[in-house]
């Protein structure tokens, strides 16, 4: 098996912009970054760490302060050349201007059409494929500005797919979406990377989703430093935790999520198992208790979970209480 070709490579890249003659540096000199076919890269980082700036710089929308971005196959970074290599889904709102979903997606064929923008059979076939891949066939005659956020994001993805480029970059595609839509979109992108062999780069705040779908994570710290690697490596070597380090927020390596309320509370002994144990533990943590699983003299309460197929109960003992409850809400109420 040969080595995958590299679709985009940076060296010594530094992002930022010029404003009124001043250089405003957003990131320090970044390590060499690479995009490869079929790989999904998630660009993570706290707000203000420069994710969008890096994405726009890589996409050629703004010049780099220093360093080079090499896209094999093109020499000068002319917009017309880049347009056949990199397609974008941005956070810019699409304003209503009478465009239908179909014609908006057809605009993706812009780099390939003649001076009047007339589509030929190939163009039409690619547009149809993009509409099918994103599953928005039913929306094609709607006006673009009447779509919901989730539909709109799929439409913009279809437009980028219609542009038929080896690299696809998305700036916070899951913002404004509800949880099922976020998961569906991430799953779709993951599948597209595999099927189309596109290199997909997306910036996101969805740490847990990114951890599940990303082949590589680029993690930008607030100071503009960038760590890269497989998501699991970044979790294990603590980089993840360090990048998002805040008071009261802790990265739970076992669950792969950030948890709040890290301050130790009153200890509670919880016995039982299964899914009920997991959710009871979460509820107790939220209520500022520390859950222990081995008996010790200083525990405040002992909670026994009894899982029946029909009915689950929690037996609460301690502090002068000895009673059975049938919902977590009742249990927490009694412990307050």
């Amino acid at each position: 098996m040969g080595i995958d070709p590299i679709l985009l490579r940076t060296s010594g890249l530094q992002t930022g912009y010029h404003s009124g003659g001043k250089r405003i540096v957003v990131s320090g000199e970044l390590p060499g970054l690479e995009l490869q076919p079929g790989r999904l890269v998630c660009l993570l980082g706290p707000n203000g760490s420069g994710k969008s700036t890096l994405l726009r710089t890589l996409a050629g929308l703004q010049p780099a302060l220093n360093g080079t971005i090499d896209v094999p196959g093109i020499e000068a970074h002319k917009p017309s050349e880049l347009a056949r290599k990199i397609s974008l889904v941005l956070t810019d709102r699409i304003r209503g201007n009478n465009l239908t979903v179909q014609s908006l997606i057809e605009l993706g064929r812009y780099p390939y059409t003649g001076w009047l923008g007339v589509l030929d059979e190939t163009d039409k076939a690619v547009v149809e494929w993009a509409i099918g891949a994103t599953g928005i066939g039913a929306l094609r005659d709607r006006k673009a500005h009447t779509l919901s956020d989730g539909e709109s994001q799929k439409m913009m993805l279809a437009r980028a797919l219609a542009q038929d480029t080896p690299i696809l970059m998305l700036d916070e595609p899951t913002a404004h979406l509800d949880l099922p839509s976020r998961i569906k979109l991430m799953r779709l992108l993951h599948r597209l990377a595999g099927q189309t062999r596109k290199a997909i780069l997306l910036s996101t705040h969805e740490l847990d989703l990114a951890l599940q779908v990303a082949d590589t994570v680029w993690l930008l710290e607030a100071g503009g430093r960038l760590h890269q690697g497989a998501p699991e490596d970044l979790v294990l070597n603590g980089v993840f935790e360090a990048a998002f380090a805040e008071e009261d927020i802790v990265f739970d390596k076992e669950a792969g999520v950030f948890v709040i309320h890290a301050a130790p509370g009153k200890p509670v002994l919880l016995t039982g198992g299964g899914i009920t144990f997991f959710w009871t533990q979460r509820a107790l943590r939220r209520a500022d208790f520390t859950v222990v699983t081995t008996p010790s003299p200083d525990v405040l309460y002992h909670i026994r979970i009894t899982d029946h197929p029909t009915r689950t109960s929690w037996l609460l003992e301690g502090e002068g209480v000895n009673r059975e409850y049938h919902s977590i809400a009742e249990l927490l109420q009694a412990m307050r």
């Binding site: 810019d92 812009y110 001076w115």
Partner: protein, 347 residues
Amino acid sequence: MTESPIQKIRLAGLLLLLLLVFLLDLSMGTVKIPVSEIVKVFFSPRTANPTWHFIIAKIRLPKACAAVLAGCGLSVGGLQMQTLFRNPLADPAILGITSGAGLGVAAVMLTGGSMATLFAIKELGVSGSWLIITAACLSAGAVMLLVLALSRQLKDNVLMLIIGIMIGSITLALTSVWQYFSDPEQVKEYLLWTFGSLGGVTGVQLSILSGVVAAGLIVAFLSSKMLDALLLGEHYARSMGLTTRRARVIIICSTSLLAGSITAFCGPIGFVGIAVPHIARTIFNTASHRILIPACCLIGTILLLMCDIVAQLPGSQSVLPINIITSLVGSPVVIILLLRRKNLNSW
């Protein structure tokens, strides 16, 4: 974006309507000429009534042609500006080129050029004076060069919009300074010019205007693909391969040629540029400039010819200035259209 059969039928229908309105415009006026006689003037001039032949050939046909040119040019200019600035209120005057033309006219009329202009005005009508046209062309051209020079510097179309408005404001202020220090007589002359007139463009002037407007329209049509890309905003346009600065220069060039020349020859004609693109979008229900540009030409022309017919005040000897009629008749039309459309927030 592809044309649907319905859109082709609508274009054809508008073309037919245009022919009707054009003939009606030729027939209406202080002397009423039956349509059958107009046809005769065109196809067998020898058998036609010589007086009517003269009226049509020398007065009404040039005026109708000027209406066609102004209708096409201003509407397409407005469409380009609305797309470039992604602003439904933009019109060709937004770049300050129209007020630039006004400044030139004011300069000639108000700074002691009175003798020359008065003579010229009496001979040819207010807008028919070569002196005035030359002055208007020169100053519109100067403003256009300034706007173009600035547009090459800027990153952002929104900045361009603000700068255009500022330039317009400066030229208007300069014109006002001139007005302030001028005799009431001269100010009145200038005021007459601002009412606009389609009637004064004849002969060589008409050929020159046709040439410039045709050039502007061709550039506009060639830029229709760029305009389509700009519908998604500058970032997306660039990501699809559009060199945004170059596109901006080309589009501004086209609008400047259209608005500058029409204002110089016919005086300022408001309203058409802002309203017609909206009517075109409503009728054709599309955003594709390949359809909207021809549609704007047709609708703009029909609208301006209709306004010209109304301006004749059928059954009366007097003629109202075209600039008044366009706003008076056109604005209610647009309000009705937009209310029927119900999606006012579609921008």
